[in-house]
Symmetry: C2
Subunit: 292 residues, 2 copies
């Protein structure tokens, strides 16, 4: 087993016994991202592909020995050496001190180093990158709010109680908004689940009790037939969900799709932003709703 | 290519140019089910497995030559020879003249013959059984209401129109309820999509304008480790969706899971029934809501 995979296993084992926001989890994440970035920088080559996304350059990582390739990577954001260097002297807790653009590149490079390394080290494994990304983002939220999330919520009925499995839920007490935090590598047609779960929380606990915050890596898709990358976006459907199912408070991307950027500029005003912005907005998310 | 697969291809090609409820589609479906039932009866053997579902016996079909096996099959409902015999002298339009129990067995045997045959003829192909089942059920609804379904619906916004892709929609005109008809081989955690789409239709067009009718084959899962079959059911989650997202009018199964039967007996009263009942209730589904 490669060192990257050993570190991944150590991380997932640790999450079973340790608080997600703890320093121990931070260290395991740093070690894992550092190993993955080192592997990517030393053993993989970057190959630019035909980007069909206006204004963005994409590539894939490739292992020369067997030709295996990774998922698409935004070349303007990805820098494995930057991630490795940063993690040598600093840690995840220091990211929020950086200015927003550097923060974006660093977060993207850390996450993509592991996802791309895993694509090559274990072809066909879709589960590990998803689990890793959930731990990575979950840790940053846990550390920021100094609070462990829940993954089940008690739904009170008159005749019978039931436990509803959820994405991460952060309960900051009666004076703050609670957070409903789904975390996805990409969404496609499955995204309606996110709005539906928000609707259930609104219905059970009252509208605006939970702020819905969706964190997504990217919506890129590699097409072998012409060695190209596209972004798969459904902005009209998102608008319909935001109007008729529930309201999501934020959608954060580590690589924001161009077609979703404009969603914040017209009704129903879905706030799609760069994940780097989270660190500046964390207090706003859990604060009371602003007066109209 | 095996005859069963040729017939499947002929069916899907015909749907591109022909109304779903037409006699031509009926004949192609009959021919396909007949070929599949013949293949199953003549070339496959039935092997009983360890059923963990109280009161139901399950098995798999197996091809002796290479040991390939099918998805689980409810042995009390499945009878390939019955399906083949029926289709020799009669057609899909005659099914509703049968009494309900015979109707159930026949519909189940036709659908399972193709799904099981395809499992063995083309391992790993999850798409064809899903497409086939959608055509099969869609045809029966189309023929019953003498109406072609839509797969897109115009969502009117004040500033911009958008087209929402949907499951089958039957629009019977202003004096009847319209039908929202999702069709699934099984549901698991993806089922929340069904309630979410119903919610969008309720929000856009008004509550009770669309009756939600979900048709599902079964919720069985084969477990290799002990050669057993279980039913994967989430009744508490269904109840939460029915209470807080939207109301589905009917859920029909070709093999009703035991744990969902009781959902109709307690709040929020989700009407889970045998698909054979559809033929007796078709008028009720599109009729006006009953006065309280």
């Amino acid at each position: 087993m490669h060192d990257v995979q050993k570190q991944y296993k150590a991380l997932t084992n640790l999450t079973k016994t340790t608080d997600l926001g703890s320093q121990a989890i931070a260290e395991k994440l740093e070690r894992l991202c550092s190993e993955a970035a080192k592997f990517a920088a030393e053993e993989l080559t970057i190959e630019e592909v035909n980007s069909k996304v206006p204004g963005k350059r994409y590539g894939v990582l490739r292992r020369p020995s067997d030709g295996k390739r990774s998922r698409p990577i935004n070349l303007d954001r990805y820098n494995a050496l930057l991630a490795e260097d940063f993690l040598k002297s600093k840690g995840l807790a220091d990211i929020e001190d950086l200015e927003a653009n550097e923060r974006s590149c660093l977060l993207y490079s850390m996450v993509m180093s592991f996802c791309a390394a895993n694509d090559i080290l274990k072809s066909g494994d879709k589960k590990s990158p998803g689990t890793f990304f959930e731990i990575f983002v979950g840790h940053l939220f846990s550390a920021k709010y100094d609070l462990n999330p829940m993954k089940h919520i008690q739904v009170l009925n008159l005749d019978a109680d039931s436990k509803l499995p959820t994405d991460f839920i952060f309960d900051l007490g009666p004076e703050k908004s609670k957070i409903h935090l789904p975390i996805k590598l990409s969404t496609r047609e499955r995204v309606v689940q996110v709005w539906a779960h928000q609707r259930v929380l609104d219905g059970v606990f009252g509208t605006e009790r939970f702020k819905g915050v969706l964190v997504i890596l990217a919506e890129t898709n590699y097409q072998g037939k012409d060695n190209s990358v596209v972004e798969v976006c459904l902005p009209q459907q998102w608008a319909v969900y935001q109007m008729f199912i529930a309201r999501m408070f934020r959608v954060y991307y580590l690589d924001v799709p161009e077609k979703y950027r404009s969603l914040s500029k017209q009704y129903p005003f879905i706030q799609v932003r760069d994940f780097a912005d989270f660190f500046d907005e964390a207090d706003k998310i859990v604060g009371p709703p602003e007066a109209p």
